[in-house]
Symmetry: C2
Subunit: 443 residues, 2 copies
Amino acid sequence: MPCAILRPHPLTSAQLSNMAKKKTAPKNAFYAQSGGVSAVINASAAGVIETAKKHPRQIGRLYAGRHGIIGALTEDLIDVYKESPALLKGLKHTPAGAFGSARFKLKGLEQNKAEYERLIEVFKAHDIGYFFYNGGNDSMDTALKVSQIGESMGYPITCVGVPKTVDNDLPHTDCCPGFGSVAKYIAVSTREAALDVASMARTSTKVFVLEVMGRHAGWIAAAGGLAGRKAGDPPHIILFPEVPFEKDKFLGKVKQCVTDYGFCVIVVSEGSATPDGKFLADAGTTDAFGHTQLGGVGPLVANMVREAHGYKYHWAVADYLQRAARHIASKVDVDQAYAVGKAAVELAVKGVNAVMPTIVRKASKPYKWTIGHVPLAEVANKEKKLPPEYITADGFGITEACRRYLEPLIGGEAYPPYKDGLPDYVRIKGVGVKRKLKTDFKA
Amino acid sequence: MPCAILRPHPLTSAQLSNMAKKKTAPKNAFYAQSGGVSAVINASAAGVIETAKKHPRQIGRLYAGRHGIIGALTEDLIDVYKESPALLKGLKHTPAGAFGSARFKLKGLEQNKAEYERLIEVFKAHDIGYFFYNGGNDSMDTALKVSQIGESMGYPITCVGVPKTVDNDLPHTDCCPGFGSVAKYIAVSTREAALDVASMARTSTKVFVLEVMGRHAGWIAAAGGLAGRKAGDPPHIILFPEVPFEKDKFLGKVKQCVTDYGFCVIVVSEGSATPDGKFLADAGTTDAFGHTQLGGVGPLVANMVREAHGYKYHWAVADYLQRAARHIASKVDVDQAYAVGKAAVELAVKGVNAVMPTIVRKASKPYKWTIGHVPLAEVANKEKKLPPEYITADGFGITEACRRYLEPLIGGEAYPPYKDGLPDYVRIKGVGVKRKLKTDFKA
């Protein structure tokens, strides 16, 4: 890893003068939020912004892309330093993407060189020498490519990824900022809904299904398992994307739970799939009116139970509520989100290029972590699934090893301030940077 | 209203002796939770229990029905005073029905006298002279009937209702305990999800639909309106049960919002209905496989938008999550829930029969309230809907008058304690009272 080393031997005055010149010519930085947002991505933004401000000799201005990378392509840049101190403070407790995010994956260099060239053109026009990209697997791939194309076009740019994904599927990091808060929301909600069902089951609802996010990895579903503490505690069944769904086995387990406990609480991942790899939610295609399947996998599974056993059921689909739930964010998650933003800037100003800060677990109980980093090439487009040893033998629960891994990540509460009974979330002014290019780009 | 009056004139020694005897013969009390539970119904239980303990000369033991009124009918009583002090303290911050609730409506006296007679039989066997029934409209009707049948059977029993319903539809009270916390949850969730959609709308989801409870009254849906502060703020559309759903008008408004703001956030009440009074959720009946309609009204409305305009959408159904969300309970709601429990016992020991404590608003800003009471006959089976002056002229929003009414009810946070990242909710020991009857009852 390259880093600034203080040379002990004397320098010539010409060398010293050159270094001083270098120091007086800071480059601007660009920051963008990418992909699905989270409860703490703005805490990462706060980490980037506050740390950039501490390095004025390397970083001149900090620009954010309005709606992520789209803002760079269309030269729609937000002058971050024009935001008020109150806004910058408020970012730490405000969910979703304050600067706007985008679902926009830059294609391979060969297929769409024009997009990358456009990025470099905009960066050049605004003297941008640092690129901070706050996202998941896809975004790390983009950051890597931007670094490569800049190099090949003779405009080197220091690219550092800032990890973010509620899916928790980035490799080489203990966890991903954004996940801890979703995990806490799902664990809390599962515990609360389970108490509700338990108190009603004698005469009313016997089966409750909660659908959670995680199309390819079952980390969020697994977090539902934290709601219970001992055998028999709800949730009684978790359906993971990693475990092929077997209808009969599932229905048998539901019946067993209702018999044994009087009710059954089920957490189902949106990515649950049949043994032949088809998403459960895709099983039914159109209804009697030719409408596209309305329900998600939650109502589908609930209905399956009703048809087989006739139990009264309820289902909930948390959808965006889970990933936006800053009101119940994990303090650990907020701290880590801020820390990776801060570390990204610290790495960049040291000249470390094409890397992503990671979270390194030092101990689980009490949880101790520190920040490391990994080359972007090691994380780009890779997915970390739930390992088999985190899933119980019957495929329906989490093991103690999984609990040991997950529990620290939901640790601590980081409540936002309230006004008139509601969280006092902030909004950016979003002052634009004057355009310098005459060319347009249709994103 | 009958109440204890201190007589200023001297009493004979026989009279004094009689009074002393009366004082040394306390009656036991019965408490039951009824209907759908809430985040704060246990706070009402705490109010009942702690206050009952302060009146040992009138109230001997306090028994709770296991699973509500079912526990009385089947002589399955919980000896509440055998619970630990920690449990009793924990009730104030534990959601759902700690003693078990029931969806079990006693029919009219004529139709099913046996059930009422059985109740009195059990009450007599356990020397129960006080009946505290914690529920909504139906439950107030039951409490009234128990009072009447006791009287007619020569076993007078003091019956006091303890109001509880997330639907907020009881008349003669400023609001219903349980509602403020659901309202806060829905307002917070709407604000959070709206921030999520706003940050993604440029390239992804343009329409977000949140389905909320409230089959007959739009109070919960209206609470979603608190998420916005000024014109144009989300939610852009609220669909109330009180406003007949007009598809074309609705779709036109959605398009207008996406054009004006870039996205559209919709809160829809499960009770939304067509002009001919049919629930929207009942519109589609079966799908291609003969399955019963899986989705609720949320996915249905979202799909309607997609079919008409092609916008990418997401939808969430909060279901039990909303009414069990003690983690984000309104402090005002918790305080009021406790206060009505306390008042119920205070009224009962004064001999006030067949009433329900109410919440009386003294001022809105700052919110000032006190406790009153109303005869059960005035609330039994009556429903308070959202008044027309609380709904904007276009039928899609809440007025300032509505905001003034709602805002105080979500005031303050009353966070539960946490352990290992999760709320530390309590569970009862639930020690049963020895049965005295030889007869069984099949509920």
